[in-house]
């Protein structure tokens, strides 16, 4: 697979390591009343769709940026690639 890095252009997926579902960006509030439940769901439960899936890839052999890759898990087609930093900021995270 070729991942079209937003800064560096097309790169072989072999340069990356895979973390999993991009929902891992949304870390729960550890001070919430139900933090234990929230962290259980965050760490262990997955939607695991057959079709479009947003996921985190780390450019370990490259610029060491984290990307959010939207990929079809049935066809392996890559639809969009964003910097994880931009995705987090768009959701109101400060860094």
């Amino acid at each position: 697979m070729i991942i079209n890095h937003p800064i560096l252009g097309p790169r072989d997926a072999q340069e990356f390591t895979y973390l999993g579902d991009a929902s891992l960006i949304d870390r729960p509030d550890w001070q919430a009343e139900d933090a234990a439940d929230q962290f259980h769901d965050y760490l262990y439960l997955r939607d695991n769709p057959a079709g479009e899936h947003r996921e985190l890839w780390f450019h370990e052999q490259g610029d060491r940026s984290w990307l959010v890759v939207t990929r079809n898990t049935v066809t392996h087609e890559i639809l969009t690639v964003e910097l994880a930093r931009d995705v987090a900021r768009a959701r109101g995270r400060s860094k």
């Binding site: 390591t17 895979y18 579902d21 259980h40 769901d41 760490l43 939607d47 996921e55 990929r71 049935v74």
Partner: protein, 416 residues
């Protein structure tokens, strides 16, 4: 109709006109005591042991394609009981004991062949780990022998003993492990269940569950509604997709694992050899093809095919271990969808929905687990209590902090 040597000879002499289909092809009834979703090895084994061990015969197995067409038709056919942890080893030992008596039990030739599995050791640390694993296996009633390099050389002199990076220093030999003809497992269980009255309904897809007041009343299918006192999901690979219809999220990701078979060769390898340092495992089928595989592709996939980088990685592992493979041509490769759970171990449990049961998350271990999975799932369905060797396979074990992390590599599918 019972199969026997005499019957084979008789049919051979009379033009093979006496063979009959091994199972019926019935239309679904309005309702059943138990509806099992998934006509793979585990689903059919569950139906078989429900009927045989518990006398529950008003059972349907619903399969969206044809039986045995999913993961049980896409694996490397290895059986073994060489696990380490208390939550796992008694379960896989029960499974291996059932494999040993399987063919006599269901009167079907599954070609169970206990040719031995050798896990190679390349470092002192690996030898320590192998010794610990071997002791755990023996304590749980399995068998294990620790070989030194000379012992391995006597068995397989063609291995690459002098690899600069991974010299072979010995191996853990599990003589009772081996291989089985995978399709025959599904067919044998199907025939055994059918003979006891179980309806096997093929080409019937489950499209939803009918759940009222927290109780599951049956399944909606492409052949209409089928009522059931108990609904048992058993669709490893598609677990997330099926259980989502009941509103459940699971601690499971789907990943693809590739396997390969070479052109047919004369007998070169009589057992199974695993190369843990490079991740490669190989056996030779009765037709002569070398059957081997390696790592996951490492990202979520439902594609039932892999990508080339992993093909290259597996071939490198194979060449490092058996340099003579270099001139062997590859015949086929295939990808099975693994239900990768967060700790690498499976689930056999009730769900929070009354009457709905779940079996899945088999990771790499689904095929070898088939008999015990069916045995324990049938026990759970018939008695509503977990079987003692599957008691650790609960859905809430992450919440309780009781993970069964066999490889000790962390709580994420692509780590194990």
């Amino acid at each position: 109709m019972r199969y026997s040597g005499l019957k084979v000879i008789k049919e051979a002499l009379t033009g093979h006109k006496g063979w009959r289909p091994a199972w019926r092809d019935p239309e679904p009834k309005k309702s059943y005591d138990v509806v099992i979703i998934g006509g793979g090895g585990h689903g059919l084994a569950t139906a078989y042991y429900l009927a045989k061990n518990h006398g529950v015969t008003n059972v349907a197995v619903i399969e969206k394609g044809w039986i045995g067409g999913g993961n049980v038709g896409r694996n490397t056919t290895i059986i073994r009981s060489n696990y380490l942890l208390d939550g796992n080893e008694p379960f896989y030992e029960l499974s291996l004991k059932l494999w040993e008596g399987l063919e006599q039990d269901f009167n079907y030739n599954a070609m169970v062949s206990q040719r031995g599995i050798l896990n190679l050791v390349h470092t002192d640390a690996q030898r320590d780990a192998a010794r610990r694993r071997g002791n755990a296996m023996i304590l749980n009633g399995s068998d294990a022998e620790l070989l030194d390099a000379e012992g391995v050389r006597a068995m397989y002199p063609f291995l690459n003993f002098n690899d600069a990076r991974f010299p072979i220093k010995g191996g853990l030999l599990h003589r009772r492990g081996g291989t089985v003809r995978h399709d025959a497992v599904a067919w044998g269980y199907a025939r055994g269940a059918d003979l006891r009255g179980v309806d096997i309904i093929q080409n019937c897809e489950v499209t939803g569950f009918r759940i009222e007041n927290g109780k599951c009343l049956g399944v909606e299918t492409s052949k209409g509604f089928i009522g059931a006192n108990k609904v048992a999901s058993c669709v490893a690979g598609s677990s997330s997709r099926v259980m989502e219809k009941a509103g459940m999220r699971l601690p499971i990701e789907s990943h693809v694992l590739q396997a390969f078979v070479s052109e047919g060769l004369k007998p070169v390898l009589d057992g199974v050899v695993t190369f843990g340092a490079g991740h490669f495992y190989v056996s030779q089928s009765d037709k002569g093809g070398l059957v081997f595989g390696g790592d996951l592709d490492m990202y979520n996939s439902y594609a039932q095919r892999g990508n080339l980088p992993v093909v290259e990685d597996v071939m490198e592992g194979g060449m490092a271990l058996m340099p003579m493979l270099g001139r062997v041509r590859m015949l086929r490769s295939w990808g099975g969808i693994m239900d990768m759970s967060m700790d690498g171990s499976p689930f056999i449990d009730k769900t929070h929905i009354d009457g709905l049961y779940f079996n899945g998350g088999w990771c790499y271990g689904g095929f070898k687990a088939t008999p015990a999975s069916g045995w324990c799932y049938a026990h759970l369905l018939a008695t509503d209590t977990p079987h003692k060797v599957a008691a650790a396979y609960r859905l809430d074990r992450f919440r309780r902090g009781c993970m069964i992390d066999e490889k000790g590599q962390g709580a994420q599918p692509n780590l194990h």
